[in-house]
């Protein structure tokens, strides 16, 4: 049993438009059987926060190509992407690159 974790989520570059235009959300992830990986977090966001058009944020089990993910201001590609295990008080940032130019 993994304990619950408090994390900050940030959405920018247009990704905030899918979350009521709110850029910063402090959330508490509930305790669950396995550890809280970014993959679990994405599923949780899809089921609990995304109100409409989840396909604009997710594609399959991961984020839609063109959305950058950072953990504590570091590229998630350095951290194992979906397999990264979230630590308490991590800040996870989603930046859309899909808007404007």
């Amino acid at each position: 049993m993994a304990a619950g974790v408090d994390v900050s989520l940030e959405f920018s570059g247009g990704a905030e438009l899918l979350f009521d235009r709110v850029k910063k959300h402090d959330i508490s992830l509930p305790s669950q059987d396995k550890s809280w990986t970014l993959q679990c977090l994405l599923a949780w966001i899809r089921d609990n926060m995304l109100k409409e058009r989840p396909e604009l944020f997710m594609q399959g089990q991961t984020v839609r190509p063109g959305i950058l993910v950072l953990v504590n201001d570091a590229d998630w590609e350095l951290l194992g992407e979906l397999d990264y295990v979230i630590q308490p008080n991590d800040t996870i940032t989603f930046i859309s690159t899909l808007h404007g130019g």
Partner: protein, 279 residues
Amino acid sequence: MPANCSLCDGRAVLKRPKTGDTLCRECFYYAFEEEVHKTILDANLFTSGESVAIGASGGKDSTVLAYVMKLLNDRYNYGLKLVLLSVDEGITGYRDDSLETVKRNQNQYDLPLKIVSYEELYGWTMDAIVKQIGLKNNCTFCGVFRRQALDRGAMLLKVDKIVTGHNADDVAETVIMNVLRGDIGRLRRCTAITTGTEGALPRCKPFKYTYEKEIVMYAYFKKLDYFSTECIYSPNAYRGFARSFIKRSGKNSTQCNHRYHSFRREPLCQKGSEDASSG
């Protein structure tokens, strides 16, 4: 824990899509800026004393372009007179907001700003056009209008050149669009770093080799002020299809954009990168 920087052993913050290198913030800024500088030098984009208009929409690409052009002009004494040039298409809730961003950039980067509008040039705003003809192919002719508006604004400013924020991903999308349309003429021209030299003002793309991910990361780490909302008339634009295709294929290949450009280039921090010229 995050990896170390490939160049200085600091804490890496990003994996470069072009090379797979892991870089810390400072080394990333350095690599990003120096690659644009190298692009400018290799292609002889500018001559000292020229006036250059930066096509500025308030979006990520042109905001980062304005910042980097200003920085490199100062750092390397290009001797350029830089000015921001914006086009107001007359799209309520989109361009009016993004122009506010450009006005802030004008102060932040200490660059003069000129705005030309569809209304003053053509007597029509995009809002009025869409009201008349409905939501179809709006981007196609808005693009034609904007291109000409930028030229006319540049003529008014009496500049020698226009630079735009088109990046490597944009160029790759344009290649795919021209393939799908079977437009051989445009396919040949669309990857040129400078276009429109015959009669018209030359237009250059200093970010031609710069990946969108790095532009966005640069803007994020530098906390640059940019506007990010999709144009209200664009959701059905043809470009969207090419865009998602490139993004999907990019998941499978770090140098996908280079393949679409079909040319060979040595990145500044190259380390065991694969052949970039196939495809």
